[in-house]
């Protein structure tokens, strides 16, 4: 089917469909009318508690302000000096491999400390 034939076919189909819609019986039309009336009535009775448009940005603003206040309070009540590492030097000690080895040879250093103490007594 070429394009002209296809257009002719579609035009004929549309005409036939239109004719069938225009030939609906009175009973069906009456029921469609009732359905439409109910829908339009429902549209007119939209709930009065529906959120006004201006309330949405106001609510968003209030939520943001609340988050900022809570964050500030938490920040002020939890100062930096509570942190385990407060200076760059301490940070280096913590992450340094060499110093981690010291922690694993704790027994050796404990023995060394005892030896030093004994030598001092003698």
């Amino acid at each position: 089917m070429n394009t002209d034939q296809e257009q002719g076919f579609i035009k004929s189909a549309r005409s036939a469909l239109d004719a069938s819609a225009n030939a609906l019986d009175a009973h069906t039309l009456s029921r469609l009318h009732s359905a439409r009336s109910r829908a339009v009535e429902a549209a007119g009775q939209q709930p009065s508690w529906r959120t006004p448009g201006w309330l949405l940005p106001a609510g968003a603003l209030a939520s943001t302000a609340l988050v900022l206040v809570v964050s500030s309070v938490l920040w002020m009540s939890n100062p930096l000096n509570n942190h385990a590492v407060s200076t760059p030097e301490e940070g280096e000690i913590v992450v340094s491999d060499e110093n981690l080895e010291i922690a694993t040879d704790y027994d050796f250093y404990h023995w060394l400390d005892e030896q030093t103490a004994m030598q001092a007594e003698t």
């Binding site: 089917m1 004929s12 469909l17 069938s20 819609a21 029921r31 359905a35």
Partner: protein, 196 residues
């Protein structure tokens, strides 16, 4: 104080007028689409009662949820709701049919006589000219898979473009093109079968 009351009263009057205008516009819109919507639902379901229910549900949902939207949006929204309702109906009816078959009933088989070509009938163009044409077209449309039927009716009858049809059907534009092309091809074959 009186001036403020007058302003408030005037605002409320204007709001009521706006609601009335909107309600009238909605009524006009629904009156314009209801017949085609009913026929689409009837072609999909093959049943007057189910078709009326589906159209009524679509009208109600449009009015309740989208009645305040711009009038230009009502067409695609209404058809999106309707087509979605038709798809739900279709799924439910398939499940029902499976149960019926499983319980020993018979699946709704088509009358094989419907598929026989009428060798005395004219070609497609003439066939679609009268009441007999609608009968043939209706039978052919009902033989299409639901998605092809929806794509064909929305594109051909509602005059939707590919994008609007995709929105109404809840699928991609590529799918619409495929469904529509297959629908036209199948309808052509089915209706040409009546040619001498």
């Amino acid at each position: 104080m009186w001036a403020a009351a007058r302003v408030l009263s005037s605002t409320l009057d204007k709001r009521e007028e706006g609601t009335l205008d909107s309600t009238q516009a909605l009524d006009r819109f629904l009156a314009g689409v209801e017949r085609r919507a009913f026929r689409m639902a009837q072609l999909a379901t093959g049943n007057v009662e189910d078709a009326l229910d589906l159209v009524q549900e679509a009208m109600l949902k449009l009015a309740q949820h989208y009645g305040r939207r711009n009038e230009q949006e009502w067409g695609p929204l209404f058809h999106r709701i309707l087509q979605s309702r038709i798809r739900d109906w279709y799924r439910r009816s398939r499940v029902r049919n499976r149960w019926r078959v499983w319980l020993g009933g018979e699946e709704g088989e088509e009358d094989p006589l419907h598929n026989l070509a009428d060798t005395d009938a004219p070609g497609p163009a003439q066939l679609l000219a009268g009441q007999r044409a609608m009968g043939a077209l209706e039978q052919a449309l009902q033989k299409l898979p639901l998605r092809q039927q929806q794509a064909f009716l929305l594109r051909t009858w509602e005059g939707f473009d590919v994008a609007a049809t995709a929105h109404a059907m809840g699928c991609s534009e590529g799918s619409v093109k495929t469904h529509y092309s297959r629908a036209v091809h199948t309808l052509r074959v089915l209706l040409e079968g009546h040619q001498p």
